[in-house]
């Protein structure tokens, strides 16, 4: 009985629980090690985001993936406790390496716990596997790439930082879509129809090439990358080094002039 694998953006709670029971999934917990050690979703392995970011070259990522017992065919689900942003960055890294079957848990670990679902503190024994490197440069944007595409008409650049940060300074031509906009009250991403309407209103639709960025390491914009994927937008890229790199390279920026908007914010 062969069934074609459907690539999905998020995995719902019930599916993950049954996949865990079937032992057909590798779950990655991207929280800090001390949090993971206290308790986590059963069978999950730990890959703190900071650990990944210390060196996210393909060779290193391959080693990490191998050590987590993931090969090209392994189904992977990633979760965090920071509204899906850290999990997104890890999931995207796996995708970039060439792993096709990776998705995000639809909710956070905090929500999982508050629902009273299974958790333990057992650190699973992992059998090393071999993952290939099959880079997917089409989902990555670099600063050079951004510069070269600034005159292209069909490119939409999306800034996922908070509105005030955007008003203060952003990459020229970017539109503002704060990461908070992407979630619903109990899920890390809005339901598909809701998300589609929201993005459609903002002109984010069709075959346009869409590049997301945020403040520093591509977490908030990683979540946005998955938001775009969740509604089937085919051509999304993550500017993974984001605004931090852009500024350090002294590239041009834009700001909203002539208004004291910061004074309108409450502390």
């Amino acid at each position: 009985m062969s069934q074609e694998k459907v690539v999905k953006t998020t995995t719902d709670i019930d599916s993950l629980r049954s996949e865990i029971r079937d032992k057909s999934v590798r779950v990655i917990d991207v929280r800090r090690e001390e949090d993971y050690k206290k308790d986590h979703i059963p069978t999950a392995v730990n890959l703190p985001l900071a650990n990944l970011l210390s060196d996210d070259s393909p060779e290193r990522v391959q080693k990490l993936v191998n050590s987590m017992g993931i090969d090209d065919e392994t189904s992977v689900v990633v979760y965090d406790d920071t509204f899906g942003a850290l999990a997104s960055r890890v999931a995207w890294t796996l995708e970039y390496l060439g792993h096709s079957d990776v998705s995000l848990l639809e909710t956070t670990y905090g929500a999982w716990k508050s629902l009273g679902l299974e958790q333990d503190n057992i650190i699973p024994e992992i059998q090393k596997k071999d993952h290939s490197i099959n880079l997917r440069p089409e989902i990555l944007a670099t600063s050079d790439y951004l510069e070269s595409s600034k005159d292209k008409r069909d490119v939409i650049l999306v800034d996922n930082r908070e509105r005030l940060n955007y008003l203060e300074q952003h990459i020229p031509g970017a539109i503002s879509l704060p990461y908070r906009t992407l979630a619903s009250s109990d899920k890390i991403l809005r339901p598909k129809e809701d998300m589609k309407r929201l993005l459609d209103n903002r002109g984010i639709s069709g075959d346009s090439e869409i590049i997301t960025y945020c403040g520093s390491v591509g977490t908030l914009s990683g979540l946005a990358y998955y938001a775009l994927k969740s509604v089937g937008l085919p051509n999304a890229k993550l500017y993974v080094r984001s605004f931090k790199e852009w500024k350090s390279l002294s590239k041009p920026t834009e700001k909203q002039e002539d208004a004291n908007y910061w004074d309108l914010s409450a502390e």
Binding site: G116, L167, S176, T181, N201, A259, N260, D263, L264, S265
Partner: protein, 601 residues
């Protein structure tokens, strides 16, 4: 494991009236698309946008401010929670309480406005007719129903009036905006500076008590302000709607539709003369009463709100010894006519509140208010009413940990500041930040505890239009630019002695005060007052005598004050003090820059 489970509160009380229409969100989204495609001209679009409560933003066409109406100021826990979410998703992570019981979300992308409308409609709220030439939010005193001096609770009448005119065809295209204010009593006022102001009163007739109103017409604050006139001795409640309709019909017919700067009803009243206008209203009312084809009535729901002490989820006993409690109690709470109950006012800095604070507030209403809802106030604040006196220390502790326990809500140390250059097209100065700076200074000097200052007020507008209500402040300011040779600096005209109670009068211009000298000038006025006051004077009564030229101390007139204050206002050279030439919140040299106003669009 159970410790991880969030304990749930009993279900929060929900609003009885659904102000929203679901389809308006889709309609708005589609209209924005048509406008972007050039299929809708910009004037028509602006009118449409304003009708739906989305205002333009300072020198930025792609952003809107969404003004959410809270009729009679009422807001329920689920509604506050929703606004918290929306502010985080679509605005700047905070929301803003206005002086007219609206909550505003600023710097919203125009294309996201429909998402906000959708979110609001799910909790029964609307921004419909919050802007534009319509009946704006119908206000009611936050103390209506609890004020010891009121004849009866005007809240049901305010709600019924709001309900009657919302989406009513007769209110969709008035010559200009139109405002109703209901209040509780003379002291808590605000009825003589609005198109229609109403104070509940009763009279005995044939052995029965009859309810009715004192109605004031033709007042208003603006570039030119006027005090309203009382229509008649007593307007019985059954005439309330007929009177409202009659006044609006006259305004609709005779109001100036050409001259944007003079088309509020107060100009019509002033040009025509009060007696003539009064006569017209009384005649028109007779016609309205006689010609309504069916009996048109206000749908007044006089069922009292259920007052029920909340069952607390957590019940740790609050210690009464928390720092600052006594000070907070004095400046932020109001003893209700209902024994044992208090109304608690939450001070916000110039009306700003973070999304997280809104979230906390939503829970505190459920946990502490026996009426299960909150009321927006007249001065960019919000009040939790029916808090039992035994719960006050506990509530204070909770507010304190959320940064919501700033002292002095009901005192002079909570100034009003309109949004100014933070978002308004017309603003010349950052009045918003100035209000915050004054508040910080007052609290630092503990002036909120000074009984002599308690009933006075400071109100600041960023331009001559009166969104900051400077005309009715004890000390009021409106923004402009000053100049030394080629260098400009932010400047304010100071007006003194304004008030909105039974002796309503507009402030008298005193002198221009540069932005960076406003605080020293206010402190100097307080100092002069202390030197010249009589034993039972407070600042408000003393200034009242000074501006009316009837004080017998050394300060006999506004001019005497001006003479003493002038040296404080002289501009230094730019090299001497460059900071003087920058507005609050800005480190660059000041220059005036404005866009087109939309109030009248």
């Amino acid at each position: 494991m159970a410790s991880n489970l969030k304990q749930s509160r009993p279900k929060p009380k929900k609003g009885k009236i659904n102000w929203a229409r679901n389809q308006e969100a889709d309609y708005f989204a589609n209209t924005v698309k048509l406008y972007r495609q050039g299929k809708y001209d910009s004037d028509s679009f602006r009118r449409f946008r304003l009708q739906h409560g989305a205002y333009g933003t300072r020198l930025a066409d792609d952003y809107a401010m969404v003004r959410i109406k809270l009729p009679a100021g009422e807001i329920y826990p689920n509604q506050i929670e929703r606004i918290s979410q929306l502010s985080e998703q679509f605005s700047i992570g905070s929301a803003h309480f206005s002086t007219r019981e609206n909550i505003q979300l600023h710097w919203v992308v125009l294309e996201d406005v429909s998402e906000i409308l959708r979110g609001l409609s799910e909790v029964g709220l609307t921004s419909r007719e919050a802007c534009g030439n319509t009946v704006r939010n119908v206000m009611c005193s936050p103390l209506s129903g609890v004020c010891p001096d009121e004849e009866f609770d005007a809240t049901p009448y305010a709600l019924a009036t709001a309900r009657f005119f919302l989406r009513n065809p007769m209110a969709q295209n008035l010559p200009r905006k139109f405002k109703f204010n209901f209040t509780c009593c003379e002291k808590h006022g605000m009825v003589r500076m609005v198109d229609v102001g109403l104070i509940p009163q009763t009279r005995e007739q044939d052995g029965a008590t009859q309810k009715g109103f004192k109605i004031f017409l033709g007042g208003g604050l603006g570039n030119k302000s006027f005090v309203g006139h009382q229509l008649e001795e007593f307007t019985p409640e059954e005439d309330l709607l007929y009177t409202s309709i009659a006044v609006m019909r006259i305004f609709d017919r005779l109001g100036d539709r050409k001259n944007m700067a003079r088309n509020r009803m107060r100009y019509l009243v002033n040009d025509m003369g009060w007696e003539k206008f009064q006569n017209l209203v009384l005649k028109e009312r007779a016609i309205v009463r006689a010609t309504q084809s069916v009996v048109t009535r206000l749908n007044v729901d006089n069922t009292p709100n259920e007052i029920k002490k909340p069952i607390r989820v957590s019940n740790e006993s609050g210690s009464t010894a928390v720092d600052g409690y006594a000070r907070w109690l004095k400046g932020n709470t109001f003893k209700q006519k209902q024994p044992g109950y208090y109304s608690v006012f939450v001070t916000l800095e110039a009306g700003d509140i973070t999304s997280n604070q809104l979230h906390v507030l939503s829970e505190l209403i459920q946990d502490f208010s026996s009426e299960g809802l909150a009321r927006a106030g007249f001065s960019q604040n919000i009040s939790l009413r029916y808090v039992h006196e035994d719960d006050l220390p506990h509530l204070y502790t909770k507010l304190l940990s959320a940064g919501l326990a700033k002292s002095g809500s009901l005192t002079m140390s909570a100034p009003i500041g309109c949004s100014g250059t933070t978002s308004c097209n017309l603003a010349l100065t950052n009045s918003h930040r100035l209000a915050k700076e004054i508040q910080r200074k007052f609290l630092e000097l503990k002036l909120d505890e000074d009984d002599d200052l308690r009933d006075s007020s400071i109100k600041i507008s960023g331009c001559p239009n009166s969104c900051g209500q400077h005309g009715i402040a004890t000390i009021g300011f409106f923004g402009g630019g000053g100049r030394v040779d080629k260098d400009m600096y932010p400047n304010y005209m100071m007006q003194l002695g304004g008030r909105s109670d039974g002796e309503t009068m507009l402030g008298v211009s005193c002198l221009r005060v540069p932005a960076k000298r406003v605080i020293p000038v206010i402190l100097k006025i307080i100092e002069i007052f202390k030197e010249n006051k009589k034993p039972d004077d407070d600042l408000k009564s003393w200034i009242h005598r000074v501006v009316n030229g009837i004080d017998d101390s050394n300060i006999k007139s506004v001019n005497d004050l001006k003479e003493i204050l002038t040296p404080l206002t002289l501009p230094p050279s730019k090299t001497e003090d460059p900071d003087f030439y920058a507005d609050y919140g800005s480190d660059t040299s000041y220059h005036t820059k404005t866009g087109k106003g939309e109030c009248a669009a």
